[in-house]
């Protein structure tokens, strides 16, 4: 059931990003909303769940995007690896560090995108205003990343409560923060 919840959240975030965000006045585009969700999984859920979501949502986002196929799969796995490394290094995250954590994930994805343009034989080229784009995305992640991550946590708590009522069983959940 936890996996179904993760798929629903990932899919919902993709819809917000592709069908709702274009109506908002964001210059160039918003950052990838899957990143705070993946980092939520890194902080509160077992590694297996995070890797599963990264694989599944990576394939989905790769399919609806013009990026070379496999980019998002790679980026999400690298972000998970980075997340676990940072978490092992810092041991715990507080309200001040979580936005930095999300911003770091967004920066990493953009750097990987830049790297993908430099791969041997790559035909994709970075846009001219790439530095402004990255700056906007990292700033947006710093300002909003914490709320999205916390939103995922609340939704998961609500889902667990709902599942418990439905099936009278505990669907192993995350810790409070």
């Amino acid at each position: 059931m936890a996996y179904l919840f993760h798929i629903l959240i990932g899919f919902g975030l993709l819809l917000v990003q592709t069908a709702v965000a274009p109506w908002m006045p964001f210059p160039g585009g918003f950052y990838d909303l899957q990143i705070p969700f993946l980092l939520y999984l890194v902080i509160f859920r077992p590694l297996g769940e995070a890797v599963f979501v990264a694989l599944f949502m990576g394939a989905v986002v790769d399919s609806v995007s013009t990026t070379p196929f496999g980019f998002y799969g790679l980026a999400y796995q690298v972000i998970i690896a980075m997340g676990y490394w940072v978490l092992g290094f810092l041991h715990s995250l507080n309200r001040l560090l979580i936005p930095l954590f999300v911003a770091l994930g967004v920066l990493l994805e953009n750097l990987l995108m830049l790297g993908a343009c430099l791969l041997p034989g790559a035909m994709a080229r970075p846009p001219r205003d790439v530095s402004e784009l990255i700056l906007f995305q990292v700033t947006a992640a710093l300002l909003t990343g914490y709320f999205i991550l916390r939103g995922c946590h609340y939704l998961h708590r609500g889902w667990r409560g709902w599942m418990r009522t439905l099936f009278k069983s505990d669907d192993a959940g995350g810790e409070a923060f």
Binding site: L14, L15, T18, D32, S63, F69, G70, P127
Partner: protein, 277 residues
């Protein structure tokens, strides 16, 4: 022998290596993976369509019922513009008739009129690095990869991937798109490439050509995708360096890509609609 954690880390590293390989292969565009992409687009498309239509519906309620303050002025302006359009259309009809007469005189092959299919934009690329949109028409409507996408204002882009009922359109403002073009006034040739959110550049125009700000840029028809004469944009800046063969030209596209809602896909005259059904 190995702890569970070490196995998980090894698995993660293996997945990263696998994705890096896929990315290297797909990034060179020598290979495509249309199968899974089409399946997933077919699945995500209806949801994107529902969300887009719900937002559009709410916005229309606001604009059509609550935001009518300046409608009177707009109406007057539009009526004046309509008058000009009618006069302009009359001239165009006359020109088309004379063109047709001259063509038949010269024994030109009568060009088959291309068919257009209207489509709604239902989603945008999740990556801010790439400028593409998803439309609600696909193979079953005769839309296939490589078809040009237009608006009344000008060229929008090209279909890069088509599923049964949905298609992805790469916009001309994407840095990876290219349209063979002409400057209408002096017929100088170049290639229009995307630059940023609302500008393009016209590359490979020789220094010897005099290009002025405001000059109209149209498609040349030589790329085999866009028919000749479609409006792309107007010149907003020209830079001639002391060295080099070409000049740097910046374009402002006629299409407002921030407010892209409906587009038209140009189907070839012989597109078989039943093929996708």
């Amino acid at each position: 022998m190995f702890s569970k954690n070490r196995l998980a880390v090894a698995g993660l590293l293996l997945l990263i290596a696998l994705h890096l390989t896929i990315l290297t292969v797909s990034g060179s565009r020598r290979y495509y993976f249309p199968g899974p992409a089409n399946v997933i687009t077919t699945f995500t498309g209806p949801f994107q369509e529902i969300v887009s239509k719900a937002i559009r519906f709410s916005r229309d309620i606001w604009y059509q019922y609550f935001f009518l303050v300046s409608v009177g002025q707009t109406n007057e302006r539009l009526e004046a513009a309509m008058g000009e359009c009618v006069a302009s259309q009359n001239r165009c009809v006359e020109l088309a008739l004379s063109n047709s007469r001259l063509r038949s005189l010269l024994n030109f092959r009568q060009q088959q009129p291309d068919r257009l299919v209207a489509a709604e934009v239902i989603g945008k690329d999740p990556s801010a690095w790439y400028k593409s949109v998803v439309i609600d028409k696909g193979l079953s409507d005769g839309v296939s990869a490589g078809r040009p996408v237009l608006m009344a204002e000008g060229v929008v882009g090209m279909v890069t991937q088509a599923a049964n009922h949905y298609a992805t359109v790469l916009l001309v403002i994407d840095q990876n798109s290219a349209v063979d073009a002409l400057i209408q006034s002096n017929r100088a040739r170049g290639v229009v490439k995307g630059l940023s959110a609302d500008t393009c550049r016209l590359l490979y125009v020789l220094r010897k050509h005099e290009v002025m700000e405001g000059d109209l840029v149209i498609s040349s028809g030589l790329d085999g995708v866009f028919p000749k004469g479609l409006r792309i944009g107007s010149v907003m800046g020209v830079e001639k360096t002391n060295t080099g063969v070409f000049q740097a030209i910046q374009l402002r596209p006629f299409v407002n890509f921030e407010k892209l809602e409906e587009v038209m896909v140009l189907l070839s005259a012989d597109a078989d609609l039943d093929a996708g059904r």
